[in-house]
């Protein structure tokens, strides 16, 4: 529920930026002098579009904040794994900071704060997604193995034999487990770079802006390459769901490239090198619903890629690593004989220990 609320919250936030509606309500934390929650629904729904977006964004933000607090209470009351606990703490801190940043953006009417606000949002979404993934694994009673499928191929079985009965499985696709993590980081950095472009101040020099666009385009190339490598690395994976998930990310990245091109067209028109080939006889319509949908969709799809990469990284490989980090290495890495277990390279894991010892 938190992930869904956050997704809607971020979509509203993206629309607020697209329509430059951040200052549609000049006061904070109230709305035109009213308590935020008591602002008349009729005025919200039937008022100006800018007001609908900004006030809706605030209500969703408050909902996400309350859900985070509720989640924290439940998590610490019912007990959860250390990783989930840490993530919930991070979520609460982030949601409070994010709310304050939103308020600061309005009170100071400052673009720098808006940029930071736009960077914290996707981070909170990633954390919320991670909590959902890890909680889901725990709910299924599956803390140490891939959640959806039993290992069935020979490589996987041998890998388990190799490390013995430890809390962590040894992924035979070690490289593949790191790739979605890198992809998630790259997708997040792309959202950060995109936020700098969307919130660029009008006094910025063209040369600086050109560099910012170049960085965003380089980031797009990096995300594309990483998603392609992820697909390649995950195709031998025994889980069909995992394989399809990686393909879905690749498809989303392709869609994102198209939306990025569309955002360019709706913002700057046909690039000069294309104008000789084709140019419309009519000018682009500024602030058209179609243009807003493409530009905002570019932000939302970027967020979805980030969420999907987090799921892939945690659900099939990275969750145990995260649990280990959360326990500061104190638990979960000890074999029954007290020796330290560590992740071995995939190639080393193929051979059972007894065979390796015999050589």
């Amino acid at each position: 529920m938190l992930v869904a609320t956050t997704a809607l919250l971020l979509s509203f936030g993206a629309l607020v930026t697209t329509y430059d509606a951040a200052m549609a309500v000049p006061d904070w934390p109230g709305t035109f002098g009213h308590n935020m929650f008591l602002y008349p629904l009729v005025e919200w729904f039937w008022g100006p579009w800018d007001l609908f977006l900004e006030h809706g964004h605030r209500l969703l933000g408050a909902t996400a904040g309350m859900l985070s607090l509720l989640l924290a209470a439940v998590t610490f009351r019912k007990g959860a794994s250390p990783a989930v606990r840490w993530l919930v703490v991070a979520a609460v801190v982030l949601v409070v900071v994010q709310g304050a940043l939103g308020g600061l953006r309005v009170i100071l009417d400052d673009k720098t704060v808006a940029k930071v606000h736009a960077c914290t949002g996707p981070l909170f979404f990633a954390v919320a997604t991670a909590i959902a993934v890890l909680s889901g694994r725990r709910g299924r009673g599956d803390l140490s193995a891939p959640a959806t499928e039993q290992r069935s191929n020979a490589v996987g079985q041998e890998a388990l034999v190799a490390v013995g009965p430890v809390h962590l499985p040894l992924p035979s696709w070690a490289l593949g487990a790191s790739l979605p993590t890198a992809l998630a980081v790259a997708a997040y950095l792309q959202l950060v770079a995109g936020a700098q472009l969307r919130h660029a101040d009008a006094t910025l020099a063209p040369s600086t802006f050109r560099w910012m666009v170049a960085i965003h385009l380089a980031g797009a190339a990096a995300v594309t390459v990483l998603s392609a490598l992820t697909v390649i690395a995950w195709q031998p994976h025994e889980s069909r769901v995992a394989r399809r998930w990686s393909l879905a990310i690749m498809a989303m990245v392709m869609g994102q490239l198209l939306l990025g091109g569309g955002a360019w067209l709706f913002t700057w028109g046909i690039p000069s090198w294309l104008q000789d080939a084709w140019a419309p006889a009519e000018a682009v319509l500024a602030r058209s619903p179609r243009g807003a949908a493409v530009i905002t969709g570019h932000v939302i799809l970027g967020m979805m890629i980030l969420g999907a990469a987090v799921v892939l990284a945690l659900e099939w490989g990275g969750a145990d690593r995260l649990e280990r980090i959360a326990r500061f290495g104190r638990q979960g890495l000890r074999r029954p004989d007290g020796t330290e277990a560590r992740l071995l390279p995939a190639t080393a894991a193929v051979q059972p220990r007894s065979e390796r010892g015999a050589r």
């Binding site: 009170i107 101040d201 020099a205 063209p206 050109r210 913002t267």
Partner: protein, 406 residues
């Protein structure tokens, strides 16, 4: 819609919970500590190309900036002297940062819709400017291409409104047809304000050239000089723009279109109109294509001057200005008339204006004086037929739209 007053808001702000203030302060400290300073208030950039070209000293540059601030205010707080003929209420709707007022009316329209390309100063140096081809318009010289007035005259309010509503096809200038009449009206007023400000700035910079020796390099700061001699001549041209409308004879209702197009074709390739010189024998813009428009020509010619000078210190300063305050000059290719894209408007009347007065700021010359008014209609008819022209010489043997053929 809202009965809440600003006093209510102030009252509510006074009751804001202490925790929110604390968090806000803590964040300020964090942001400050990480080097993320608050966005500085918007400011008008000085016309450094002209100032450096005229070899102004830094004191003189400061004087120009101060005088302009006194006469025109700042981007957040514009001032319209009565002599400008501008409506300050409209300017205030368009100026400043983007925000809604107490009744939910959007302010800061220029920065929301225009400044990212045209720049806060209207100097065509907005962040996105380098990506646009053609570059966005620099309002400061007060030169506008698409209008219903004679070549050297200013556009009318209606001309600028039409451009905002229709956009400029074939360029990055979009149509703002979804904005309200009031918003478009405010934006047009603000663009005029930036133009009058820019031309006044040019007037002030060039006035240093005519100073007497006893002026000690300082412009007189009297109302008589600043408003009477510099501002009013500029503003007067804008106020009288509607008096300079191009007279357009009626096109005969019973005109023989085939004969008119043939006559227009003859004029197009003839010596009088000589359209073929630039638009080329195929009318696809394959004639002379190495010329610049006035905005780019200024930079090209000044660059030549800088390269050829012996004053190394000035040249070094000029190079810095060229790097930071101008974009790489681009040539202006003549239009391909077979594509059916008309930047200044697709109405026959728009084409008549273009041919009659030429295009101010561009190499397109005026036919006025060389081609009789009624013959201009023939050229208009021929130009409008070009995207559909049947022409065996071009390798086409059947009529089809230009975009399919070319």
């Amino acid at each position: 819609m809202n009965t809440t007053t600003s006093a209510d808001i102030r009252h509510t702000e006074g009751q804001r919970p202490a925790w929110s203030v604390k968090i806000v302060l803590a964040l300020l400290v964090v942001l400050g500590g990480t080097g993320c300073g608050a966005t500085p208030p918007a400011w008008f950039r000085l016309n450094m190309v002209e100032a450096t070209k005229q070899k102004l000293t830094s004191d003189q540059e400061r004087q120009v900036a101060t005088l302009l601030a006194a006469m025109f205010g700042t981007p957040d707080d514009p001032v319209a002297l009565p002599e400008t003929g501008l409506d300050e209420a409209k300017l205030r709707l368009a100026a400043g940062p983007v925000r809604s007022d107490i009744v939910g009316r959007k302010n800061g329209l220029y920065r929301e819709h225009c400044a990212h390309c045209h720049g806060v100063t209207g100097d065509a140096l907005g962040p996105t400017a380098a990506f646009l081809n053609p570059y966005p318009r620099d309002y400061r010289p007060g030169i506008y291409k698409f209008k219903s007035t004679e070549r050297a005259d200013k556009p009318t309010h209606a001309d600028m409104t039409r451009i905002l509503k229709n956009g400029i096809p074939g360029t990055s200038m979009p149509s703002f047809a979804l904005l309200s009449e009031t918003q478009i009206d405010a934006l047009v007023e603000y663009v005029k304000y930036l133009s009058i400000r820019g031309e006044t700035e040019l007037g002030l910079i060039r006035a240093y050239f005519e100073l007497d020796d006893d002026a000690e390099g300082k412009l007189p700061e009297t109302r008589e000089f600043l408003v009477g001699e510099v501002l009013e001549p500029v503003a007067e041209k804008w106020k009288t723009a509607a008096d300079a409308l191009i007279p357009v004879p009626e096109m005969p209702a019973d005109i023989d279109m085939v004969a008119s197009i043939a006559k227009g074709r003859e004029l197009f390739y003839g010596d009088k109109a000589n359209c073929v010189k630039c638009h080329g024998p195929t009318a696809m813009g394959d004639g002379q294509a190495n010329d610049y428009d006035d905005w780019n020509k200024t930079i090209v010619e000044w660059t030549k001057e800088v390269v050829g000078t012996d004053d190394k210190q000035w040249a070094s300063r000029a190079h810095r200005v060229l790097d930071g305050d101008s974009l790489e000059p681009r040539t202006i290719p003549p239009r391909n008339l077979r594509r059916g894209i008309y930047r200044g408007g697709r109405r026959p009347l728009d084409l008549y204006y273009r041919i009659h007065a030429g295009i101010n700021g561009a190499p397109m010359p005026a036919a006025k004086g060389t081609v009789p008014p009624e013959d201009i209609w023939h050229i208009v008819n021929y130009v409008q037929s070009l995207p559909y022209e049947l022409d065996g010489e071009l390798g086409a043997d059947r009529p089809m739209v230009a975009r399919d053929r070319f």
